[in-house]
Amino acid sequence: MSQDAAIEANGLDLTFETGDGAIQALRDVTLEIGKGEFVSFIGPSGCGKTTFLRVVAGLEKPTGGEVRVNGTSPDEARRDRAYGYVFQEAGLYPWRTIAGNVRLPLEIMGYSRSEMADRVNRVLELVELSGFENKHPWQLSGGMQQRASIARALAFDADILLMDEPFGALDEIVRDHLNEQLLGLWEHTGKTIGFVTHSIPEAVYLSTRIVVMSPRPGRITDVIDNPLPRKRPLDIRDTPEFLEVAQRVRKGLRAGQSYED
């Protein structure tokens, strides 16, 4: 196991016991994510991409294999505030203002008052929400709410950002804009990002590597290195290079599917 891996999974297995039998959500998942990488997980629903992220976050316990985050167990990593997690829904607390929501993890982690104010200002600026500090979540659009939830995950400066289909519920125009912002953010913070999506263009546009997964049992079928340069204007999506990578991802997804029957 190498020194500069942020996330390492070795032969991960996870079986859920449900009312109608056991479901194998992950089988023999082995993957290493280096520091500063942007890795996307793509696949049809039930392929275990979200489950994998939850295992990394320590929200699920694997039934077999091993996972290390920054060289420690997921539980330890969580106590070390090693990662910020962005969920599918913004999940902002309606009784708190936007600033109050971003302050939430800082309050729990015991930051000083002035430190909290500084950090809240900084991350709200980062997601372009300055001036909305005192609004309540329901007064903001869905895209703005999701940006606030990203700010919340960034507030305590974790090195790793785990994002579970954060833009899935947003319309395409807002999504493009947020993709661009996220890429900029990744570039100047140097964070390691694990990103679950089911959009091929989103995965290709954002990531340095794309992990293709397939369901029943959930497993990795392909890992694609993205040759695109780090600087990516939105219209890179019309270049032949981009379309080539997208094609490979699509092929990988299809191959996973035919496995099934």
Binding site: R78, Y85, F87
Partner: protein, 280 residues
């Protein structure tokens, strides 16, 4: 007979007036919203007066509103003493004690599966006991003064507040709880920052139901023994001496107190749960 006819005419007139207000642009304004129930209430009182006088209804059956009002004004001192004894000492103290106890037990239930399985069913059993059965026993235990009335109120308000609080504490989305877990938040941090605020709409439901129960409990408990003051005491003795105007005055006090109490809790609710879709 003319008075009865006048009552019918008045009824028609008030009806017509209210239909006009409700149909006009005034209806959605503040004035309109106050005016319609006001016209309705006043016309009911006026018709009551006219019919009672017109048909010579005996005082013991139904006193006229003006007679009740006279008694109300003449007996303000007694009414105030009774109000203090029953509403302030009995109902409010019992309400506060009962609600605090319910919150404490709700937390204990939340922390322990054993209590959840064991205490909640016993709680519903206690809640099903009729107040006329428990009140005499509690009067026996705690004496004739307000303490026994407060005890009855505690028993009455405890369960609705408990059930609503337990339900409210369970009312968080899995995602919100996962979020707190990713911060390694402790039980108390999760409770204070997520579950307690999320529970407030439920808690206030319980608190509002409990306001009316508290007043009923405090009044009824006095039927089973009390010092020579209190709203329930006055109602039962005045019925005995056929002073029906006094009974109705006490009823008016009870209605006013109940409305104010409920209104006050609703105001606090609006302030605490401003964020809830039903309030904003």
């Amino acid at each position: 007979m003319t008075l009865v006819l006048a009552a019918i005419v008045l009824w028609m007139a008030a009806w017509w007036l209210n239909m006009r207000i409700a149909g006009s642009a005034l209806a959605s304004s503040h004035v309109g919203r106050v005016a319609v129930p006001l016209v309705f209430g006043l016309s009911v009182l006026a018709i009551w007066e006219l019919v009672v006088r017109g048909l010579d209804v005996p005082q013991v059956i139904l006193p006229a509103p003006t007679v009740i009002a006279e008694t109300f004004v003449a007996e303000t001192g007694t009414l105030w003493t009774d109000f203090r004894q029953t509403a302030l000492k009995g109902a409010i103290s019992g309400y506060v004690i009962g609600c605090i106890a319910a919150f404490a037990v709700a937390l204990a239930i939340d922390r322990s599966m054993f209590l959840r399985r064991g205490l909640l069913p016993v709680g519903s059993f206690v809640a099903a006991l009729p107040i006329v059965g428990t009140a005499p026993i509690l009067v026996n235990w705690f004496g004739f003064d307000w303490q026994s009335k407060a005890a009855v109120v505690v028993v009455m308000v405890f369960f609705p507040v408990l059930v609503n609080t337990v339900q409210g504490l369970a009312d968080t989305a899995a995602m919100q709880r996962d979020l707190m877990r990713t911060y390694s938040a402790s039980y108390w941090q999760t409770l204070l920052k997520l579950r307690a605020p999320a529970a407030m709409p439920f808690v206030f439901n319980g608190l509002k139901i409990a306001t009316t129960l508290a007043l009923i409990g405090a009044i009824v408990a006095e039927y089973f023994g009390s010092p020579t003051r209190g709203m329930g005491f006055r109602i039962s003795t005045s019925v005995g001496t056929l002073e029906l105007a006094m009974v109705w005055s006490e009823i008016a006090v009870a209605a006013l107190a109940g409305t104010l109490f409920y209104g006050a809790v609703t105001l606090v609710e609006r302030w605490v749960t401003f964020w809830h879709p039903s309030q904003r």
